[in-house]
């Protein structure tokens, strides 16, 4: 039985294992992904039973739920209420605002044809990039030069601006860009995503796959640098992976936490 289950690992377990290769799945982060996905789909609350069932299906320990939820509440991410023996959990307003702020980047289509600029900042301003507004993304290519995408008007006035010669980046720049744009990680995610044919056919399994896909994608896309993506252009791994993810989420359908255990 054990041998068989290893050999004929289902799509949920296979995906969970694959996603754990790069870095372990964190229970608290999975819960945020789940509550965020449901909230954006109009389902503010998710019952503790559904969360536990999903977590178990994924292969994480449901016993750790209590501690994870406690910490999320303490840190202002989650609100909970209890109805008899069942707990109901939702993102706090500030957490929801954060989820909404990145919803376009997580769920939206690939952004192509974004121009990127080469900028130089004055010497002795080591924090220059850290102080940029959210409307801009930057990837440093030297101690005082960076490639930037976003709202040009928000660039500091005393920066040197230039239009880089497009297409072929020299290898030392390409190395920085592929690293910052998480090329290898997107390609790896693309490889482990199930095809539409491989999806489980039970509601809980589908729900678990959706949250896993979203979670794996979300932690990666929020780490990847938009300026580096813009600089790499259309052939980048992020764009391909995004297409795959969006098609998969579409095939799975919206999250139906309330119907998972029905």
């Amino acid at each position: 039985m054990n041998v068989v289950s290893i050999r004929s690992e289902g799509p949920v377990e296979a995906l969970a294992n694959a996603l754990s290769q790069s870095s372990p799945l964190k229970l608290w982060s999975m819960i945020v992904s789940c509550l965020g996905d449901c909230a954006l789909a109009g389902q503010a609350e998710v019952s503790g039973r559904v969360l536990s069932a999903m977590v178990e299906r994924i292969g994480l320990q449901p016993q750790a739920m209590r501690v994870a939820l406690h910490r999320l509440k303490r840190d202002g991410w989650v609100d909970s209420r209890r109805e008899g023996r069942v707990g109901y959990h939702r993102l706090t307003d500030s957490a929801k605002a954060q989820v909404r702020a990145v919803a376009g980047r997580v769920y939206g289509p690939a952004v192509l044809g974004v121009p990127c600029r080469l900028v130089g900042f004055p010497p002795d301003t080591p924090d220059a990039l850290a102080l940029l507004p959210d409307t801009l993304s930057a990837v440093p290519v030297s101690r005082s030069f960076a490639l930037v995408s976003g709202a040009d008007a928000d660039l500091p006035e005393d920066w040197l601006l230039a239009a880089p010669d497009a297409r072929d980046w020299p290898s030392w720049v390409l190395g920085v860009l592929t690293e910052a744009a998480c090329e290898a990680d997107f390609a790896a995610l693309s490889r482990v995503l199930p095809s539409a044919e491989e999806l489980p056919d039970d509601p809980l399994g589908l729900f678990a796959v959706r949250i896993l896909v979203l979670h794996g994608w979300r932690r990666l896309i929020l780490r990847s640098n938009p300026a580096a993506e813009a600089a790499l252009g259309e052939g980048r791994a992020e764009a391909e992976c995004r297409t795959q993810v969006l098609a998969l989420l579409d095939a799975i359908g919206p999250p139906r936490a309330d119907q998972v255990l029905v």
Copy 2:
């Protein structure tokens, strides 16, 4: 007499004194300027008598001539021959080749509308700029970025190229450019150059002024950075000073070493 001569300092002495303010006039360098100017005008040889008379008129010590010429010969800059009691001096072929190589930059019209590019070179290549071919000029704006003018095709393939946004350089770049393009020195030279009306009317005086003007201009233009000049564009001090120098050389007429003492 002494008091009067100080007060009514002639144009040659005035110019010599003014040029000495930034850095002392070096006899050996004056001789090279003179022999080079005459060689380009088709007068390969200049007699020791003319050199001495010019040097004396300028206010340098003619006694130092023997030592200066000896060193120039030793270092392969000057060839001399003697005819009776008169020595005749000329640049060696290699020195003449060097003078010719920069003749366009020294005697030619201002070069305007030259594009400049922003380049980045790979990390750990501190000598990148020093290794550029002569067809390119570069002014560093950071540890691994520079503004470059010249033959783009000669730029190393692994450099990052970009077209800087024209016109208003940020102050930290402008500071680098004005320094590298010797803006203050060109402006200072412009201020001390005599007007055509102030020129002396004797052949030796005219000859001495020509060599002084040329010498002051030459040592400055060969120090100024062409890439920085290109980046500064039309309003730069070099272009104005050049116009003034060329007009003055034109007003003085070609060097006639053979007629100076006639």
